[in-house]
């Protein structure tokens, strides 16, 4: 039985003629312990797809099955890392994580909970900043807090919605490694949504492109057969990496082009000759 299953998902916003069809005919199966990446253009409905899986919204038709059970509402079993960190600015780093941990383990004592908070803050190497507020941290640090918050709840599956999208290239690389490290430790199932093909290839076992909306749907999957732990610098020379990367980019470009050409009606232009002004203003 698949761990996470999406069957014929269709999602539209609004009613009747005004309905915007965001996703249609989405079918996806993720096995336990797998790291799957979904790549797509901005605005192609990636966030809608993520919110369907984590239970923030419901599909118009079709079903989302998590461990064989239909997803109704959010659950602590599926941890979410949001694109824009979504830390509560009036709480410190420690308090932000504590709030999540307290909800996830209501029976534990305060001392135990604080212990968990400390461990996870240390894991994302932010111990020095545990009493700081989010607005005193850099973007990379904030996202690390968000990662710690999601993981501290010990979810069975981690859903990441463009978690590194807003970061600079160097911080992004570091955080990719950190997330992989953490994932590698207990091999939780992970779903990564990204617009960066390289990131997808570097991190995931499988990459699935999302054909852009309206009526976005998933394209053919690409398996990444590169052994872990992967090395960024070596990977650039890896033939397998190059081939996969080219194939995915080619595929995405093709969709992009076909989308463009679809909308390109042929306009009849009037036949005009430029007037000659030569000699007129003498």
């Amino acid at each position: 039985m698949a761990y996470l299953e999406l069957n014929n998902i269709y999602k539209s916003y609004g009613q009747g003629d005004h309905a915007t069809e965001v996703l249609s005919n989405i079918n996806l199966t993720i096995e336990e312990g797998e790291f799957v990446a979904i790549v797509g253009f901005t605005g192609s409905g990636k966030t809608t797809l993520v919110n369907l899986i984590n239970g923030l919204i419901e599909p118009t038709s079709g079903e989302v099955l998590f461990k064989g059970q239909p997803v109704v509402g959010t659950s602590h079993e599926r941890g979410v890392i949001f694109q824009n960190y979504s830390l509560l600015p009036w709480l410190t780093v420690g308090q932000n994580i504590f709030m999540a941990v307290k909800e996830a383990f209501p029976k534990k004592s305060k001392v135990e909970l604080n212990e968990i908070v400390k461990d996870y803050v240390e894991m994302v190497s932010l111990s020095h900043a545990i009493n700081k507020r989010p607005n005193e941290l850099s973007g990379g640090m904030r996202q690390r807090v968000a990662v710690a918050r999601a993981l501290a709840m010990k979810p069975e599956m981690i859903i990441m919605d463009e978690p590194l999208g807003a970061l600079d290239a160097l911080t992004r690389g570091n955080l990719q490694d950190e997330i992989l490290n953490i994932w590698g430790k207990d091999k939780r199932t992970a779903l990564l949504i990204t617009n960066d093909v390289d990131e997808g290839i570097y991190m995931a076992d499988r990459i699935i492109p999302l054909k852009p909306g309206p009526k976005a749907t998933l394209g053919p999957e690409f398996k990444i057969d590169i052994e872990r732990p992967r090395d960024k610098t070596e990977m650039n020379d890896n033939q397998n990496f190059k081939d996969t990367r080219n194939a995915i980019i080619e595929y995405l470009m093709e969709i992009g082009n076909s989308r463009k050409s679809e909308s390109q009606g042929v306009y009849e232009l009037p036949e005009l000759e430029p007037k000659s002004f030569v000699g007129r203003f003498k």
Binding site: T74, S86, L88, W90, A100, E103, A104, N131, N135, M153
Partner: protein, 368 residues
């Protein structure tokens, strides 16, 4: 990670940034590039204060002359030249019986201020003496189960300021207790919002005088059996009802416009409804709630004077009204003293709220 608290930080925090500039001037720490800043923050306000007092002096002088001339002229036409001459001499001699009654000069106002303080000290001494005198008697009366004799003399100016502050804070607390919970409910539920909206829109612009009359009608009937003076109750309830609208509207707006990201966090963490309100929605709407509370407090202070005047409840409003009715020689300057006291206390209350707002809200940059 404790940050050191310096005088500079505290005064900035409370909105008194100019104080540190003054301190720097006296300790000689003022840098050359700060001089422009110093000029703008200290010299310019001082100059404008002096200009204001100067204009006031000139204005009151010309009003005084106009009033004096009119008096002499009236005496001349009514009673003849001798009476006019006597009047002119009387005015020039500074005799209180014939002084022109008009806008007082800054000097007169200052004198009245000092006389009010003297008056306060006299009354305080009088009160202390009274309490001392009746202490033994009161002890007996209480032992016998009778009510103690209390001082019933005239309240001093300072007593009236304190009474006014009590009324305003009671009204403010009432506004807070009514407006914040209702604001939260309205903000959370669009249904409640449409149920209450007409109510808010219609009652928000109602004048303090009408609120007072409404409260008077109701409280008078409720306390029909009581022999106590209900003017304080009526005035603080009126103040509260007049001033609560800003808080109500701001709270509802703040609660309704919480960032969707925070709501998503609350959902993903599976916070219960109460947790969600107290841990996510309220903290995130605190800045707006406090903006509302700040407006509420300043409105409360503003309408207080009118309401005290109507309710005959002791306080600055009643003081102003009594001085006006009194028509004594220094009544006008006492009214102006009260005006400045009202203005300065209003300003201090505003700063107090700003300080609390900065203290509790997470975004330290949006306090103005």
């Amino acid at each position: 990670m404790k940050q050191s608290i310096t005088l500079e930080k505290v005064t900035k925090f409370m909105g008194f940034g100019f104080l540190t500039t003054l301190k720097d001037l006296f300790t000689g720490k003022l840098e050359k590039e700060d001089f422009k800043n110093f000029l703008r923050k200290v010299i310019v306000p001082l100059a404008s204060i002096l200009l204001f007092i100067g204009l006031w002096q000139l204005g009151s002088q010309s009003l005084y002359n106009r009033e004096a001339n009119f008096k002499i002229q009236t005496a001349l036409t009514d009673q003849g030249p001798e009476a006019a001459e006597a009047m002119r001499k009387c005015i020039a001699s500074g005799d209180v019986s014939c002084q022109p009654n008009t806008l007082p000069s800054p000097g007169q106002v200052w004198d009245s201020y000092k006389s009010l303080l003297r008056d306060h000290n006299i009354i305080r001494a009088d009160k202390a003496a009274f309490i001392e005198k009746t202490a033994a008697l009161n002890a007996k009366r209480i032992a016998a189960g009778k009510a103690a004799i209390t001082y019933t003399g005239r309240p001093s100016f300072i007593d009236q300021i304190i009474m006014s502050l009590k009324t305003v804070f009671a009204g403010f607390l009432l506004a807070l207790v009514i407006a914040i919970p209702i604001g939260i409910l309205i903000g959370l539920s669009p249904t409640l919002k449409s149920a209450f909206n007409w109510f808010i829109q219609i009652f928000k612009p109602v004048s303090p005088v009408v609120w007072y009359l409404l409260v008077f009608m109701i409280v008078k009937t409720i306390l029909i059996d009581s022999t106590d003076d209900s003017s304080f109750i009526i005035s603080f309830i009126s103040v509260g009802l007049c001033s609560m609208w800003a808080t109500l509207v701001n709270t509802a707006m703040g609660v309704a416009s919480v960032d969707k990201d925070y709501i998503n966090v609350a959902k993903v963490l599976k916070l219960g409804p109460i947790q969600k309100v107290f841990k996510v929605i309220l903290p995130s709407s605190l800045p707006l709630i406090f903006t509302g509370l700040k407006i509420t407090l300043s409105v409360a202070w503003m309408v207080l004077i009118a309401i005290e005047l109507l309710a005959q409840s002791p306080g600055l409003g009643l003081f102003v009204w009594e001085e006006f009715q009194n028509g004594a020689n220094d009544s006008n300057s006492k009214i102006i003293v009260a005006m400045f006291v009202i203005g300065i206390i209003g300003f201090l209350l505003d700063r107090l709220m700003l300080t609390i707002q900065n203290w509790v809200s997470f975004d330290k940059s949006n306090g103005i």
